[in-house]
């Protein structure tokens, strides 16, 4: 089981899981703003299949935390109507692949409503989507669906990698007047970090990447479930003489060109790492942006380490699909170090 990455230098507090931080973010949002409503399949008495909404229906009542019929287009469509009337719905899609029936609502209405009404009607919706693999899930439970979302103008797309960010980014997403796709790396749900769930203070602004590890040799650009893998790879790379920087993008839309380019200009080399397939995946866009903006600082082409361009594998084969430390280090090794006359 991987662990979330904690660089916070705050006073040591007891360990908390990402699941607890997300639950706390929902609870605080519900408590602070009566227009916030949580809705989805099994979010009530059960507390969600991942228990993220645990106890919320009991605390806030079924009108605020609502078990809906099992129909994702209906859930999101109804949430659109609720948002039209001034509520701030937080929708839970049970799994990445179960969100697909809601795509017409998402693409034709959620993403466009503000624009088509010239700003008269905004939809402050948060759509939580547990995503990604690595949990031994059977078919339709492990998709990395972020490429679909980032290709849709009008949506913000956010994904945390740490316990602290899970809280801060979810609070910010719920507070945002834009619709936000909040991608939860489900294999990090039970990852722990030192975080004080009794006194969470930081609400991260959406759209800022963060450097998780400083380094000189090359930059790993990554997000969500791949952040801990990259941190592990960066540790392992030290043995090879590479001092890798790791940038956690946190938000795919808006994209933080500034932080990303500042890092790549410093190191001169970059590898994009994600679980999503490479062809048409976010890595292609990121590599292009970096190349367009940092060309004269680059010592090597920007490389991508992504999931293969295959349907998500069955659980007994998924380890071959997911980008791991070795595949990342192989990519780092191909960053034309010979041009410097030696290794990093």
């Amino acid at each position: 089981m991987s662990t979330a990455v904690g660089l916070s230098q705050a006073p040591r507090t007891k360990p908390a899981t990402m699941a607890q931080a997300l639950q706390r973010a929902l609870r605080d949002s519900l408590a602070e703003d009566p227009s916030v409503h949580v809705m989805g399949e099994d979010v009530g008495a059960l507390g969600g299949v991942f228990r993220i909404t645990d106890g919320l229906a009991k605390e806030f009542g079924e009108d605020r935390v609502t078990d809906t019929p099992l129909a994702e287009a209906g859930i999101l469509g109804a949430a659109v109507g609720m948002a039209m009337y001034g509520l701030r719905p937080v929708v839970e899609m049970q799994f990445d692949a179960f969100a697909y029936p809601a795509f017409e609502q998402l693409i034709s209405h959620v993403a466009k409503m503000r624009n088509r009404t010239k700003g008269a009607m905004s939809l402050p919706l948060t759509i939580r989507v547990p995503y990604g693999g690595g949990i031994g899930g059977v078919e339709h439970h492990s998709d990395s669906s972020e490429a679909y979302y980032i290709a849709t103008p009008g949506l913000h797309v956010v994904t945390p990698a740490t316990v602290e960010d899970a809280y801060g980014l979810l609070r910010a997403s719920i507070a945002s007047d834009d619709p936000v796709i909040f991608l939860e790396p489900k294999r990090l749900y039970w990852s722990k970090d030192s975080w004080n769930p009794e006194a969470p203070t930081s609400v991260e602004p959406i759209g800022r990447a963060v450097v998780r590890r400083r380094g000189r040799s090359a930059t790993l650009l990554t997000y969500g479930p791949s952040v801990p893998v990259c941190m592990e790879a960066a540790e392992a790379a030290q043995a090879e003489g590479w001092d890798l920087e790791v940038v956690d993008l946190r938000s795919l839309v808006p994209f933080d060109d500034e932080t990303v380019c500042a890092s790549v200009r410093r190191t001169g080399r970059a590898v994009v790492v994600h679980e999503s397939g490479g062809f048409g995946g976010p890595g292609g866009e990121i590599a292009a942006r970096v190349t367009e903006r940092c060309f004269h600082h680059l010592e090597a082409p920007v490389l991508r380490v992504a999931g293969f361009d295959i349907p998500y594998p069955p659980p007994m084969l998924e380890r071959h699909h997911l980008p791991g430390v070795d595949r990342i280090l192989d990519a780092v090794a191909r960053l034309q170090w010979e041009s410097q006359g030696g290794v990093g």
Binding site: P69, G74, V80, N115
Partner: protein
Amino acid sequence: MSTRTEHGTPVMEQRGVHQPTPPPAWKPRTDPAPLLPDPEPYRVLGTSAADKADSALLLKLYGELVRGRRYNAQATALTKQGRLAVYPSTTGQEAAEVAAALVLQEQDWLFPSYRDTLAAVARGLDPVQALGLLRGDWHTGYDPYEHRIAPLSTPLATQLPHAVGLAHAARLKGDDVVALAMVGDGGTSEGDFHEALNFAAVWKAPVVFLVQNNGFAISVPLAKQTAAPSLAHKAVGYGMPGRLVDGNDAAAVHEVLSEAVRNARAGHGPTLVEAVTYRMDAHTNADDATRYRDDAEVETWRAHDPIALMERELTGRGLLDDERVKAVRDSAEEFAAALRQGMNADPVLDPMDLFTHVYAQQTTQLREQAEQLRAELEAEQER
């Protein structure tokens, strides 16, 4: 794993020990009021039910019908003059369109489909704004909050769950708001129709679903759309009443919709109303209806025209003479002239608006692209 008794021997291996009980009692709910629609579409005009109809209401409906017919003709003419990109006409369907608007109170919400600009206009929306989408200057030509009219929805039936959510939200807030959502016969085949009706019934949301069965989904007739006895029958499966009404009988549509709105307002939940009507024109000005239907069929419906039905009733009551007819038609002409004038003015468009409303929190990427367009516009002006 097998269940074990307290002695540790598996139940299945102890013959006679396991005593099955009868299943818990469950039977389908029996509804106090029948959910099934009437066997025939409900009619008022030309029947004994007309005796109860209020003359002032009939006169009001008549004026709206005539103005609606003129509106359809004018909008169609505007497509020929290049002032509208496209117009899906509701000629022949004016009764359902105007009744839908008139049964709502000011605080209520209307959820129209792309064909329902007439309903929006009858609710008070400026026709030039109502036609903004079809003119092509912006996707929604009006502020939805001004008259509580949701944006015209082009993807079929997708606006229905919005109506449910909005009505549900209003009820949670304790507000007296009913949502009336409009859809066509083709739209009832969409998944969102099913999901919206199901959510509405489960949540007992104050919603009225109005299906205008105008016979065709572009070219596909109802028989290829559904095997249901009627579209109103679909209500039963969701646990809400279905009502079947003559969609060309404005008094009947008004009465049935009013009752549905009343029930919704009183907390009795949603109703599905099927108004049986006919699309006299082609799907849009770009369509050719002769490829899929006979003129003879159109003529049988022309004999059941909503305006003629109302004129007969009003004339019988001695409420309609030549002078009154002329006054109503003159008023419709004035309305059409104002619409023509409004549409003849070229809209003033700012291309920079393309970037202004995508997000509340603008992204740096869009700021960069906006700058690019601004530079292109400046270069254009300098040429």
